[in-house]
């Protein structure tokens, strides 16, 4: 059994009380990462319970009934402080608008989770700097979120989510505020970097194009799972080689002082579907290709 396994059993959740009660989740069960890292898209119309499910899986919201277990441990059995610590150490988050702290420059935004975990600032910033360089943001370390484009800000958010080597990354409409080409590039980076870290990705989206890039699609309707489809034709053609090869795996302090900062050898694709998908023909896209090239160059 894979260690980074997230298991949800019989989740129900309701907003409001009495006659005004609105069911958000109804008997939802699913397992993520059972056979290794995977990219799971959670789709559904507005009000179908997508974001609620993400919040419950991440331990932000306690379900009305049912249980969520991370690496075999029930989140409900943890104290609030333990869950908070777990979110910092084992989970990563990417939101629609990044939600970076506006006062902090990019490098400090990325270093913050490590500092919160007790890493000394020098070490935390070294790790953050290396990761940002790998993601093509070497020139942006001192820029604040307001001085970054939407795509750049999301890449910083991805770096922040991954810097602590999480076991799973939760993303809520990560490309919702981006145009199509930037969104595709960011999504490719998110999938590639997350899986490259040995982590699974859970992404809430209403965008079929985004879902098409994931290896598994879970559809919700009125709080219930109506389909759970594993795909062998995930459109991961845009995942840049540089970011797939960048991280060294879960649990390592990637980029810490003393660790080689040169790109590590490309790992084998972590999920069979990606091997198949990457072998497919590359669809030319000048904007995306140029951005990929810049990532690759930046990583050298």
């Amino acid at each position: 059994m894979h260690t980074n396994r997230l298991e949800a059993i019989g989740l129900t959740h309701t907003y409001g009380q009495g006659n005004a009660a609105a069911p958000a989740l109804a008997d939802v069960s699913l397992t993520i990462g059972a056979d290794g890292p995977e990219a799971v898209a959670i789709m559904g119309p507005s009000g179908s319970g997508k974001s609620t499910l993400l919040h419950v899986l991440a331990g932000i919201v306690a379900p009305a009934s049912g249980r969520v277990a991370w690496r075999g441990r029930d989140l409900a059995s943890m104290r609030d402080g333990e869950r908070t610590k777990l979110r910092r150490s084992d989970f990563g988050f990417v939101f629609q608008s990044g939600q970076l702290l506006p006062e902090l420059p990019a490098i400090e935004n990325v270093a913050l989770p490590l500092m919160l975990g007790g890493t000394a600032r020098t070490g935390a910033e070294a790790a953050a700097g290396t990761l940002l360089h790998r993601l093509g943001l070497g020139e942006m370390l001192g820029r604040r979120p307001g001085e970054l484009s939407g795509g750049q800000a999301q890449r910083v958010a991805i770096a922040r989510a991954l810097v602590g080597s999480p076991g799973i990354v939760f993303a809520d409409e990560p490309t919702g505020a981006l145009d199509r080409s930037t969104g595709d590039a960011v999504m490719s980076l998110l999938i590639g970097a997350t899986l490259g870290h040995g982590a699974s990705l859970v992404v809430v989206t209403h965008d079929p194009e985004v879902a098409a890039m994931c290896s598994r699609v879970v559809r919700l309707q009125d709080g219930r799972i109506v389909s759970d489809e594993r795909r062998s034709d995930a459109r991961a053609d845009a995942v840049p080689a540089a970011v797939q090869g960048a991280p060294s795996g879960a649990g390592s302090m990637y980029g810490m002082p003393g660790t080689a900062s040169a790109p590590v050898p490309l790992p084998q694709p972590q999920h069979p579907s990606y091997g198949a998908a990457r072998a497919e023909a590359h669809v030319p896209n000048p904007v995306r290709d140029a951005e990929q090239q810049s990532w690759i160059e930046a990583s050298r």
């Binding site: 907003y15 974001s51 919040h55 991440a58 932000i60 919201v61 402080g81 908070t84 610590k85 777990l86 979110r87 910092r88 150490s89 989970f91 990563g92 988050f93 939101f95 608008s97 939600q99 702290l101 506006p102 006062e103 902090l104 400090e108 913050l112 989770p113 500092m115 919160l116 000394a120 600032r121 820029r143 604040r144 979120p145 307001g146 001085e147 922040r160």
Partner: protein
């Protein structure tokens, strides 16, 4: 008319919230402080007009009371601004819904302004009652060798109405300014860029004021009367507002550079981001502490039994006390408004695993840093400028100790008041769940 009806209906439907109460409290303190200061000025004016005091001394004390009022007015303005931010905080969702429902931008703005003015009105009424309640206490203080009377401290009705009008107009102006900011940059937070460095001309401005003081008062290069010396001291004290934000930004930058804890890093970066806002909270107290430093010299410098010197020391202590109360209320209110303004950041931090104690520590340090720099800097500048009179100052140990204790007390009360905003952090950060 439709706007007014809709606003009244929505106000009835939603009822008062915690932020509304805090906002009204802020307006109440602003009004009470304004009326107390105007009461003091009125008392000195009446004594002078009725010939109950020596004309020269009376004129000087009246001038000094205007200086004290000038020191406190910026704090009243900042307090009113913070109150407005609270009054219209979290209205954005409702306003956006109204826009979608077909309300014009003017109607939506009018409703937000009505919210602020209504709370200001409640605050003005409560503040007037508060001022009346504390007047007998203030009347016990002795100035010019005479205790105040309640009648002296109660200005004419038109002054009360003018003060109330000024607070309401401040609320109106601050509300319009807030809305304009929202309209101009709807992405407010996201568009924030690197903070501009404050102009170094500020140092020059302060240096000119301090230089004039040294030339005239310390080195006696230009013969001047006491009133000129006092005017120069007042100018130096007010000019501190020029270098205060610069000092705070500079020290915060050094703190951020070497910060080891996330809370300190966050606090320092937030202060760097808005040094003027940080100084606004501590500015009144800083200049009051500085004025107090100068005034603490007066009893030692004066001839035995000189009532004016004692009045100056008493006036300075009173100004520090009022500035301390205003600063404390301001710190509590402004930090509450900040927590609400930064609710998305707090929610994001909570989701990504930032513990609540870290967020709370950042909030307290966000006030503590400018407070220590602003008030400490003011005390240091005062000491530096009165250094030539050090021996004189040292011989007046009693007033010096009073000054120091007042300053430390004001700082402690302000930090204590910041605690009022701490419970909001949890409420705001964890309400993400329902999103």
């Amino acid at each position: 008319m439709i706007t007014l009806k809709l606003w009244a209906r929505l106000a009835r439907a939603t009822g008062p919230r915690a932020t509304d109460v805090l906002s009204a409290i802020a307006f109440a303190f602003a009004t009470a402080a304004l009326l107390a200061v105007l009461g003091g000025v009125n008392a000195f004016r009446m004594r002078l007009e009725e010939g109950r005091v020596d004309p020269l001394d009376g004129q000087l004390v009246l001038t000094l009371s205007f200086v004290a009022a000038a020191l406190l007015l910026p704090a009243v303005w900042t307090l009113a601004q913070a109150a407005v931010r609270l009054a219209i905080a979290r209205r954005d969702d409702r306003l956006a819904a109204l826009r979608l429902a077909g309300a014009t931008r003017g109607q939506v703005s009018a409703m937000a302004v009505l919210d602020a003015v209504a709370q200001a009105l409640v605050g003005v009424v409560v503040g007037a009652m508060l001022a009346l309640a504390v007047t007998p206490g203030i009347a016990r203080i002795e100035f010019q060798g005479l205790p105040f009377t309640v009648a002296e401290l109660l200005p004419p009705a038109w002054v009360w109405l003018a003060a109330a009008g000024a607070v309401l107009l401040t609320a109106l102006g601050a509300a319009l300014a807030s809305l304009r900011r929202v309209h101009v940059t709807p992405l407010g937070v996201a568009q924030r860029v690197s903070p501009k460095r404050l102009s170094l001309w500020r140092i020059l401005g302060f240096a000119i004021a301090a230089g004039a003081y040294v030339a005239v008062v310390v080195l006696d290069l230009v013969p001047a009367e006491l009133s000129v010396s006092i005017a120069l001291i007042s100018v130096v004290v007010l000019a501190y507002s020029l270098i205060g934000p610069l000092m705070i930004q500079g020290i915060a930058w050094l703190v951020a550079k070497d910060a080891r804890s996330p809370a300190t890093l966050l606090a320092a970066r937030r202060v760097i981001d808005d040094p003027r806002g940080a100084f606004n909270i501590v500015g009144a107290m800083s200049v009051a502490v500085m004025a107090g430093g100068f005034a603490s010299l007066a009893p030692a410098a004066a001839a035995p039994g000189d009532a004016l010197a004692v009045d100056m020391a008493t006036g300075a202590a009173l100004t520090i006390a009022i500035a301390g109360v205003l600063g404390a209320v301001l710190a509590g209110i402004a930090q509450s408004a900040k927590v609400l303004d930064q609710r998305r950041e707090h929610q994001a931090m909570h989701r990504m695993g930032v513990e609540l104690p870290v967020m709370r520590a950042a909030l307290v340090r966000q006030v503590a840093l400018p407070l220590v720099v602003g008030v400490g800097g003011a005390a240091a500048v005062a000491l530096l400028l009165i250094l030539p009179s050090f021996m004189l100052w040292w011989s007046s140990a009693g007033s010096v100790i009073t000054w120091a204790l007042m300053a430390v007390g004001a700082v402690a009360v302000t930090l204590g008041a910041t605690a009022a905003a701490l419970p909001l952090v949890k409420r705001v950060a964890t309400e993400t769940a329902a999103a």
